[in-house]
Amino acid sequence: MFYRENGQFKTSYAADQAIFPILLDRIAIMAILLVAFLVVPLVATQYVYTGILIPFLILALATIGLNLLTGYCGQVSLGTGAFMAVGAYAAYNLVLRLPGMNLLVAFALAGGISALVGVLFGLPSLRIKGFYLAVATLAAQFFIDWVFIRIKWFTNYATNATAPELLLFGLPLDSAMRRYLVTLAIVVVMALIAKNLVRGATGRAWMAVRDMDIAAEIIGIRLLRTKLIAFAVSSFYCGVAGALWGFMHLGAWEPLTFDVNRSFQVLFMVIIGGVGSILGSFLGAAFIFAVPILINQVPAALGVPISTALSSHLEAMIFGAMIIFFLIVEPHGFARLWQLGKEKLRLWPLPH
């Protein structure tokens, strides 16, 4: 009744191929963007920015990156943390060794370096598939961990990397709100690019490879190229996410920040959010990252005096139960749930 595309006629190919073909979706997206860019800065406290929103956005970006590779191209990767680390250390070294570089340029170049590394570790994907490829990318994870711990040049001979003073076009990013807005802008632009990428020829090639690589090869898709592009784009996204994590979120980081647990965390976000969905990347990141924090704060918010240990055990138990519940209800993730909800809303109130 409320969510219906009746009467929205598409009279041109452009309208039919639009990114959000339904008017209501367009309105919703605009509303969300307006809230994110205008309303949030008016109401959010510093905790909401630095404790929740900034890390959520960055993890969502990394999840998009992994989703392009795993969800759209079907190449399972456990190296997300490693590619994030490459991005973070690349940005650190770029800014350190080429002073005066624009921050956005540094992030883009860091993503580029990460993409190159991603291509390198994507090469085996032509010969190995599925679980075996996952193990190969796990090797990338451990190797890159090792590189940043051992080779001191990357950390400028210090024990850890420290982000420099952040300046964007002469404006210091010293307040949480500014960092949030910059992060948000980067994430929105990159999400938009990702969405368009998967709707175009590249995305179709990825999905063809994902669904059946031999068939894809027969209809003329070059496997190596397609897979390597997927690795490059995915690593680019992860690299930028890593750079943002180091610069915008932590400010100083050690290699452990991007260890294998980070890779698993992002992979879980993909699975819970929805394999092969950009929207799902955001939903998954929000669920895996923010829900435990909120659960943790519920007892205190309700004024229940329980010990710190008990509340974090409760957090783990409730969160674990929620994951199991959602996976039973909808194994294809939140994106699929949302899609089903949309279908139901279209038919409501006269389901047939």
């Binding site: 406290t45 905790y47 210090a158 024990t159 420290t162 704060q297 004024g303 710190t308 240990a309």
Partner: protein, 441 residues
């Protein structure tokens, strides 16, 4: 209708969420000093995190129960669980930093990773960081690291003190020549901190130095100890944390490396580190920043005011353990910094900035420690802008299978050498971060 129901529920949910983020439950009393606690009572490092957290919590509870707070200002102490994870630590920091009428007094993260991240955030928020015996070794330079207070010493101090000790036992530094020293360390900034100093000293005294990393969390270290079995170093220094320590001692037993050639840093010398290895740990040495056991009057006060009334946060028999005592001292240092600040700014809740002044002018004389019941437990120390650690000494203790006992006098780290090193490192940091070094008046 259904849609409006959804909307109403969504709104209610959002309201609840907003309410939980806006922190209700904190009372609005103006005469309260908020003290945050970043703790880890769960996860791989919990055996070490729990006693420390209990010691801290008990000291603030004692001050409230016995004295009604500090100079009439009640302390509101709130914990947040980090699980030793940096991102959760940062989230906790953001959650707690603004609470109470004047915000958080000081943070004490008990994790080098979290310390690094907070070092970048604390100056902007004007909240001091207390890193008692951990954190960046160069943060003793207060003119650059204005907000960091590595009270009672750094890892560089620890490494230098241990080398002094083995040199003394070998009969002088001349006898170190040609010997072999291995460092088994937690592969993180924490574990890597002493390497620079040990490398310097190996060149100066002519011994061979091997750095042997152990991957977090340190349960698996067979290959490291096989290397030790081949190399047979004359000494092994252990820079571990949590389960890594007891695993290392068990591996030493397995490869038959003599335990009385092993020296742990002060984070590798608590009961949870040695008891899992049973008799195998006998003879193991570790640095100590303070004695073990119910040695000071403050322990009796805690027993009387808290544990006899069932208000303590630990089990009664855990009071006095190594890390419990360190937590107790940590709480005392925060409380004394607040008290020092109050002496200047008045008996009201202090802001982080005022507490920072309190730390920088902290003077814990022997007489003062006597007054607050810490005589025989904490070391006297005097902080200044030039030296944010206040004291750079430790003793060596040995585990006899049942308890820790001191085997050395207080050893003072060589400040002529370490200071210069810290200043070089701090200057590089200042240059990178565009900080103009300077001491606040």
């Amino acid at each position: 209708m259904k849609r409006t129901g959804w909307a109403a529920r969504l709104l209610a949910g959002a309201a609840l969420l907003g309410a939980s983020l806006a922190f209700p439950g904190t009372s609005n009393a103006q005469n309260e000093q908020f003290v945050p606690g970043l703790v880890y009572r769960t996860g791989a490092y919990a055996p070490n995190g729990v006693p420390f957290a209990n010691g801290r919590a008990d000291y603030f509870a004692l001050l409230n129960a016995r004295d009604g707070g500090i100079n009439g200002v009640k302390i509101v102490y709130e914990e947040c669980e980090t699980g030793y994870a940096t991102d959760r630590g940062v989230e906790c920091y953001e959650r707690l930093k603004g609470k109470g009428p004047t915000g958080a007094a000081a943070f004490s993260p008990l994790s080098t990773g979290i310390t690094f991240a907070l070092t970048e955030k604390a100056p902007g928020d004007k909240i001091p960081l207390l890193t008692q015996g951990y954190g960046r070794s160069d943060s003793i330079v207060g003119s650059v690291f204005a907000w960091n207070f590595p009270l009672t010493g750094t890892y560089w101090d620890a490494a230098e003190i241990l080398v002094q000790h083995i040199a003394a036992k070998a009969g002088g530094v001349a006898n170190l020549k040609g010997k072999r020293l291995a460092l088994v360390y937690h592969d993180s900034p924490y574990g890597k901190e002493p390497i620079a100093v040990l490398e310097d000293l190996s060149k100066r005294y002519g011994f061979t130095f091997d750095a042997m990393p152990v991957t977090h969390p340190g349960v698996e270290q067979k290959s490291t100890w096989l290397q030790i079995r081949q190399n047979r170093p004359d000494w092994v220094f252990l820079w571990g944390w949590g389960v890594m320590n007891s695993a290392a001692i068990k591996e030493a037993v397995a490869v038959n490396y003599p335990r009385d050639k092993m020296y742990g840093v002060w984070w590798s010398g608590a009961e949870p580190d040695v008891t899992p290895a049973g008799d195998g740990a006998k003879g193991y040495y570790a640095l100590a920043l303070h004695p073990v056991g119910l040695v000071a009057p403050v322990h009796q006060e805690i027993m009387k005011n808290l544990y006899d009334k069932n208000l303590g946060s630990a089990k009664k028999e855990e009071v006095g353990e190594v890390l419990y005592n360190r937590g107790l001292i940590d709480g005392m240092q925060v409380a004394e910094a607040i008290r020092t600040a109050m002496a200047k700014f008045g008996n009201k809740p202090m802001t982080g900035e005022q507490v920072r002044w309190g730390f920088e002018n902290l003077d814990l004389t022997a007489a003062r420690l006597q007054q607050i019941g810490f005589a025989g437990l904490a070391q006297p120390l005097k902080v200044s802008c030039d030296d944010h650690a206040g004291v750079h000494s430790a003793r060596v203790q040995q585990w006899d299978g049942k308890k820790w006992s001191f085997v050395s006098d207080t050893i003072v780290a060589d400040q002529a050498y370490l200071r210069a090193k810290a200043q070089d490192s701090a200057a590089a940091y200042a240059k990178q971060k565009n900080i103009t070094p300077g001491c606040a008046s």
